[in-house]
């Protein structure tokens, strides 16, 4: 029994029972036994997940997520569901609020409204570090590496919560330190190998070329053993061949690590090429959700990117 089917039934059912619910409420009211009248609303059910993930709980569920900065509603009524191994895309014009959504998911900002369920766990009240341990990792729009440290050290820091070693062991070089450092080293090289960066292990992160820095950020994020990987404009500044390589890499990551990926991108070839589900954000609200095909043909999306068209133009 697919989740989708159940939810559709529910929303239909909700519509029909609403009337009877009101009647019931009225009856009770007349009898004077029930408290204030409750308004029932349908749970958002316009989500789609890949078929292969349909029997597993979604890795991410956002319900009515929103944040206000003073008077500005930067993100409003954000509803999204991501399947366990889905590659999802979040697109929209500049300033739409995409990175803000990432910041909400990783608790850099605290949501004003709404719920975030990460692997079924409500992340309310968690801070960034806690949420990372729950299984979400991210890269940043402006690369945030530990510039003065080496490539391998950057990855080892990503592995911080996967391989433990106490402060005292480190300070006095007890056996646990040496064992864990070996583990750190091996695991780091393993991860760097995925991106063919093992040879750069001893280079200072700040000295790497731009593309390598982006890749290192992804490696570091993967090191935290996440269930959901957030990539913020991973193809920024890349030429077409690098972008093609990146697309392969992202799919490979999903296949090898069996995780879900949510990416923000402006490069439509990449988005339409590898994303299975896409949400389009404009002025902080979702204006369209669906498969690449759905999005490409959606008039609202076209309007948002290209302005009002006289005839339905080709999607960009």
């Amino acid at each position: 029994m697919s989740r989708d089917a159940t939810e559709t039934k529910e929303s239909q059912g909700a519509a029909t029972t609403e009337k009877s619910a009101n009647t019931i409420m009225a009856e009770k009211d007349e009898q004077g036994t029930v408290g204030p009248k409750t308004k029932m609303v349908p749970v958002p059910s316009d989500s789609i997940v890949p078929e292969r993930d349909v029997n597993q709980s979604p890795v991410l569920e956002c319900r009515h997520l929103g944040i206000d900065f003073g008077g500005l509603r930067a993100v409003d009524d954000f509803n999204m569901m991501i399947g366990r191994t889905e590659i999802a895309g979040l697109i929209g014009p500049n300033g739409a609020g995409k990175t803000t959504v990432f910041n909400l998911l990783t608790k850099v900002y605290n949501p004003t409204r709404g719920t975030i369920l990460l692997d079924g766990v409500d992340t309310a009240g968690m801070d960034t570090a806690r949420v990372s341990k729950t299984g979400i990792a991210r890269t940043f729009q402006n690369i945030r590496l530990f510039d003065s440290l080496t490539v391998e050290e950057n990855v080892r820091i990503g592995l911080h919560n996967q391989i433990k070693c106490g402060m005292w062991s480190g300070m006095f070089r007890l056996p646990r330190h040496w064992a864990s450092e070996r583990e750190f080293h091996n695991k780091s090289l393993e991860l760097l190998d995925v991106f063919h960066m093992a040879g750069n292990a001893n280079d200072i992160a700040g000295s790497l070329p731009y593309g390598a820095q982006r890749r290192l950020e992804i490696v570091r994020a993967l090191a935290t053993n996440p269930k959901l990987l957030l990539l913020d404009e991973p193809a920024a500044g890349m030429n077409p061949s690098e972008t093609a390589e990146l697309m392969e890499t992202i799919v490979r990551i999903r296949d090898e690590f069996k995780i879900a990926i949510l990416l923000i991108e402006h490069d439509m070839d990449l988005v339409m090429g590898i994303c299975e589900g896409i949400a389009v954000l404009n002025f902080g609200k979702i204006i369209a959700k669906g498969t690449p095909k759905d999005i490409q043909n959606d008039t609202q999306v076209i309007e948002a990117y290209l302005g009002k068209q006289d005839d339905a133009g080709d999607g960009e």
Binding site: T99, N103, V108, F140
Partner: protein, 293 residues
């Protein structure tokens, strides 16, 4: 009447701290540096005024003016020689340089004027004000100090909000690069800030020495630290914050001295700062700056 006397003394001392703190906060807000040498400029102002009145026999007002001019020039010179080359350097480097300048000023004063304490003659040679049938005496220095602090604060606020130069300063404090692209001469703006700050320090110096008449090369050091604390207490970079912080600090210090004991007064003053910062991490009137992620 003890309470009232203490309150007035506190406000008076606090006003001195406020004037010094204003200089700190302006320089921090616009040049983004902690000018540790600020306290020692106070001391220089005190000495210049002392010698102007003593050796040159000039009337107090002229002596004060001379001190202000001297300190203003000193501030500009120090900025050009020691701080300008470090505009792009990490803030810690600038801090250390400021400390070097502070040591330089203290030791120059030591060599030039000796370590013996000078007896400073008050620049406000008016009689005290007696109220309530002689139960409450307010010295003229106190009145002038409080009025001066209030006037300075008003003038500074008007200056930064209404004048072109003031707007230039606020632009520089937001984004130096953008300000430059808009045609603002960042160099002269920053020099102006240091000039104003140092001029204020001179006024604070002569008022401080008029109230507490011993003058030694290290006179400016502790008030400098306390005024810096006051600026942070009020929210560094905020002009009303500096004034508020200064007055509060002065009042707390005097009350602590009066009711708890001179020995622990300093500890209490600093403890108050810590408590405030724990509750309001950006200071009383400071703004929380969100880092862009």
């Amino acid at each position: 009447m003890g309470f009232l006397t203490n309150l007035i003394n506190g406000i008076s001392l606090g006003s001195v701290y406020a004037i010094i703190a204003l200089g700190y906060t302006m320089v921090y807000g616009i040049a983004k540096m902690l000018n540790f040498a600020h306290g020692d400029v106070i001391m220089v102002g005190g000495y210049v005024c002392f010698f102007a009145m003593g050796s040159l026999g000039l009337p107090p007002l002229v002596a004060v003016l001379l001190a202000v001019i001297a300190c203003t020039c000193l501030g500009i010179v120090v900025e050009r020689l020691a701080y300008k080359p470090l505009r792009e350097a990490p803030s810690l480097a600038v801090l250390i340089t400021a400390i070097g300048v502070s040591y330089f000023l203290q030791n120059s004063a030591l060599l030039l004027w000796g370590a013996d304490p000078k007896a400073f003659a008050s620049v406000v040679p008016f009689p005290s004000l007696t109220l309530f049938d002689g139960q409450l005496t307010i010295s003229s220095v106190t009145i002038v100090t409080v009025l001066a602090a209030a006037a300075i604060m008003v003038v500074l606020t008007l200056f930064t909000t209404k004048t072109k130069m003031g707007k230039a300063m606020r632009a520089c404090s937001e984004d130096k690069g953008a300000a430059q692209l808009m045609g603002i001469n960042v160099n002269s703006t920053i020099s102006m800030v240091f000039a104003i700050g140092s001029g204020l320090a001179a006024i604070a110096g002569v008022l401080l020495c008029s109230a507490y008449p011993t003058l030694v090369p290290t006179t400016g050091s502790m008030p400098g630290i306390k005024a810096f604390t006051a600026a942070v207490l009020g929210g560094i970079g905020s002009i009303p914050g500096a004034a508020l912080g200064g007055v509060l600090l002065g009042v707390i210090e005097i009350f602590a001295k009066a009711y708890i004991g001179t020995q622990l007064a300093d500890a209490i003053v600093f403890a108050v700062l810590i408590v405030v910062l724990l509750i309001r991490p950006a200071g009383l009137l400071g703004k929380e700056i969100r880092e862009k992620v």
